[in-house]
Symmetry: C2
Subunit: 611 residues, 2 copies
């Protein structure tokens, strides 16, 4: 379907917005009145620029507080409408959004609104423009879409139809069922917004916290399906009031908006497959989703010195091979693979890439390209495996390769130095990877991992720590072989960003592993005595076991699904490792212990690295 | 009264928090369990550090979900309580906060809770500790203070009393009247928090948005008065869950907390003067409030070149005199005085100080000192006026001098160069000063101006601009001769802080003044044509007048109080001037035009200064 976005959704001047909207691939846009008023471009200039950029202007918005008012107010409102209709002709836009009255309406019955919207419709016909009437969730008398529809029916004028905005409908928890009863040609416009679930007044929620589809909590494919089933064939348009987007770079915000709409169309096709209506022909499918089946490897920048190699050795990793032509080493243990890229010469150890295994590289590449992800094909030579990467938000490369049996194809590029393990394998595989995120980019990241890789939002946690509030969101595949924890990191009082990424590795016997790794010389993050005293007041833990946990700084969590044990290494550069054991069906990340971990890490950060 | 603060209210490690709390002047603190658990200090170490810092531990908190549970759960809860009572003995704290059950309670009648709190009280008596039972606003069965009081009455045990938290009581809109019926010795603890008015679920509101008393919207003096009238004589303690404070510097947050409590005590005395109860003897008064009567001057750093002087000349200011011994010039026009401090050699023009007139310098100095404001006494010589300054948040010095007749005393220090004006006076006085604020410091600023100067919060506006959302709050004195607009400024996508402070100067005839100043060579901020076209659709404005407004880039606002005209200079350094005319009772700042002004300023910022 045609894609569109309201200029209010992104930051910058009107000119910057239009350039960004065009580059992102939108077909058109809604012009927000304040963007017009504050622009030095005349309406004719804006029309001409839009033509040059290949954009149509799909909607002029908003026109407020028109209907159901006193006679004297009506005269002023009609005068205002005439002025706006005139501007619309100069812009070349044929539809105006009229919001239900939130302030000046005086008649709780609908009759006055019906009469006055009738007058407005006649004037609109004269100017050859259309009115899309929208029920705002906080409208004084009209606040639901079925109410606005009954008014539009009563007016019964060709120039008057409806605007359906997912925010106003879903924020009130309205049923979508009645949308199908509206003739498609009376739905003049569809606006889309997602949102986090909040128990906040709808006005504040609407004006500050809207999100692009797929970043929030609502079932928007069901909403789009309802509109299309009714016969709507106009643009799908984003109207997103979000304080963070307003501050962001226009080009990135516009790209995300377009990505969210293309994903939404694709998801709508997914749920509409049981329907056989021809109207779905307007929906564009994306190349088929290739959900990653597991982690293949992580790629690290080693940083100066040999600390990383020492830590990997102490963790029980062994050098499995060196790449035939690059300064790259492969370290393995069980199914966990760590690639050290010695071509990267940054001063500190850092997570730079994550490899995942998918069924079909080419299809995923096409999907990523359709969604305007930044592709980074690998420089390969004959005989080497194709391994494509996309750049995820916050500059981590996500490689995807095809799985073939036990070892990934690309591992054959490494000359085998040490094919059989000389010691017992303590760690079995990568359980999850935690990526730090600046607060400006968390929504973008969620959309990226959902739309490109089909990961699902699993869980969210807010952790009050010594650093400030850490907001965490988890993304997973269905069988939990991919788990990403995205941690929104506050800036400290000194403005420094002190958070780390981390890699969590699984074991089947945490205490045995803890002993082994310590005997290997691993330095772990110390856990305060007070933590264990508190633990005994909460859980029944065998005294000897507790003593051992304390000796080896092992943390514990438990819920109705099972138990969770974990400990951490000291930080290395902007990175640390976590060793975990899941018992029974425990599905979380030990979030209730996060404040202890953060506090101990902060103590190191303040005092310098404890050796 | 004794002052106290919960460790959860500020950021940093427990040791950092305690040092900050002690330095700020608190008598004691509430220890938040997570701060204990994550600390490497043992309970004995913490007790000893508290002794060294002169702090008592007034409360251990929180103990959750104890009462009204199943038998098996009760056994676990009692075990947990015993462990906590033991820790309390080691810490040397005699009272624990027990929150009403939010999860595990099974009995909607009170009987089970009464029985089980009775058992807990007996155990507490054995350990010689006290239980302060608090109704959380989102408690499962117990969520109001009168309900918690009826349960405490029914248990009727010396070890069980109440904790009254202003958040839980005021967020539910409960009447304070029943507090007086509670015997003072059964109020074991009082926790204080302010909050902005929000329609948000109480749990989220409570956990993220609490504020120090005086920073929010609640009448906390009335709350304290109610507790004291009941006979409460324990600590006034701050329990503030606030995400911004958590990220802030512990010392600044603790200082603000202490300042808020001292101001609250003083305000409580103010409203209690009609009462004659002896229990108020515990309240400490502050030196009497000296609300400023008007702006005396602004002090500017000139920046490189002569642009500032050129702009001041074009605005109609004249050099009134040079300081006898400093490189300081006084420029005047009507009652507006601008001091250019040539001793400041920063590269760009900047607002560095504001002078206000008060009745009694010495009393205000004492008040500022009591509230731990940073005083900056002026380096004076014999015969020069004493002029004390306090440093306001964001590094602006606020000078206060005594008013004597028409000219301030200090102006006699300037050798008169030009005593009579050679031209008509266009501008009459300083109407308001707008100070930019980083988002981390707005609450601190509001508290500063309220507590030191007695200014009142007048108005708040959120302005969606091309830069992002600008949150604005206005502080005024009663007769509006002091108006400060505090603007919370977003950071741009490029991380740059592009906002300016500004000084608004009054005229009685905006168009005449605009013509005069333009003939003086003043460059004003251009306003787009589209703005005036929109204006005609909203207001009835005479065509010739509109044409003149447009020619001179004058903006317009109107409401039921009156009309408002204003225009802006081009920015000079981090500063610009606004010229305004208020007609009739218009009391605002033209906020509805702010997006236009911000857009035009951003265009200059992007393109470079338009000459």
């Amino acid at each position: 379907m045609k894609t569109s976005i309201a200029t209010v959704s992104i930051g910058g001047s009107l000119r910057e917005k239009l350039v960004a909207i065009s580059r992102a691939g939108f077909d058109g846009y809604e012009i927000f009145e304040n963007d017009l008023i504050s622009s030095p471009m005349s309406p004719e200039d804006i029309r001409s620029l839009s033509d040059d950029l290949g954009l149509t202007i799909d909607l002029y918005q908003p026109f407020r507080d028109f209907e159901g008012v006193s006679e004297s107010q009506l005269a002023r409102n009609l005068k205002r409408a005439a002025a706006k209709f005139d501007v619309m002709k100069r812009l070349g836009v044929d539809t105006i959004l009229a919001c239900s009255n939130v302030g000046t309406a005086i008649d709780p019955s609908d009759q006055l609104a019906i009469d006055q919207l009738g007058k407005l419709s006649e004037m609109a016909e004269f100017f050859d423009v259309k009115i899309a009437y929208e029920a705002l969730a906080w409208g004084k008398f009209v606040s639901t879409y079925d109410h606005s529809w009954s008014i539009v029916q009563a007016v019964n004028h060709a120039s008057l139809g409806l605007c359906l905005d997912s925010f106003h409908i879903l924020s009130r928890g309205s049923s979508l069922d009645k949308i199908a009863e509206i003739p498609g040609d009376k739905i003049f416009f569809v606006q889309l917004a997602d949102a986090p679930l909040m128990s906040l007044d709808v006005l504040t929620w609407s004006r500050h916290y809207r999100l692009f589809p797929g970043e929030g909590a609502w079932d928007l494919p069901a909403f789009v399906l309802a509109a299309i089933s009714a016969g709507y064939s106009g643009p799908l348009s984003l109207e997103i009031f979000n304080d963070t987007y307003r501050q962001g770079a226009p080009t990135l915000t516009a790209r995300d908006g377009h990505r969210s709409l293309k994903t939404l169309e694709d998801e709508t096709i997914g749920i509409s497959s049981s329907h056989s209506q021809t109207s779905f022909k307007n929906l564009d499918p994306l190349p088929l989703l290739q959900v990653p089946r597991g982690f293949s490897f992580v790629e690290l920048q080693p940083g100066e010195g040999d600390q990383l190699v020492k830590v990997l050795s102490a963790l029980g990793f062994e050098l499995a091979g060196a790449h035939r032509r690059k300064a790259v080493e492969l370290w393995t243990q069980g199914d966990a693979r760590i690639v050290i890229n010695n071509d990267l010469t940054g001063t500190q150890a850092e997570l730079v890439g994550v490899g995942v295994e998918v069924a079909d590289i080419d299809t995923l590449t096409e999907r990523a390209r359709s969604l305007k992800a930044r592709l980074k094909p690998r420089d390969i030579e004959s005989g080497e495996e194709e391994l494509v990467a996309v750049e995820a938000p916050n500059n981590i490369d996500f490689y995807f390769g095809e799985l073939t049996g036990v070892n990934p194809k690309w591992s054959s590029e490494f000359a085998s130095l040490n094919s059989k393990s000389s010691q017992e394998t303590a760690l079995t595989h990568i359980d999850h990877i935690a990526l730090r995120q600046p607060w400006q980019r968390i929504d973008e990241s969620v959309l990226f991992f959902r739309s490109i890789f089909g990961l699902e939002i699993d869980d969210g946690q807010d952790i009050a720590s010594e650093f400030g509030l850490v907001r965490s969101r988890s993304l997973v595949n269905k069988d939990r072989t991919i788990r990403l924890a995205l941690n929104v990191t506050p800036t400290g009082a000194d403005g420094r960003q002190t958070f780390s990424d981390h890699i969590a590795l699984s074991t089947v016997d945490i205490l045995k592993t803890a002993k082994l790794l310590r005997s290997n010389g691993l330095h772990v993050l110390r856990v305060p005595q007070n933590y264990y005293e508190d633990l005994t007041s909460k859980f029944e833990i065998d005294k000897d076991r507790l003593k051992e946990m304390q000796d080896f700084d092992v943390l514990f969590d438990s819920n109705e699904d099972g138990n969770f044990f974990h400990f951490y290494t000291q930080p290395i550069g902007s990175l640390f490792f976590e060793i975990i054991q899941r018992v029974d069906g425990y599905d979380g990340y030990g979030a209730s212990n996060a404040f202890v971990r953060l506090s101990s890490q902060r103590a190191i950060d303040v005092k310098g690295l404890v050796k």
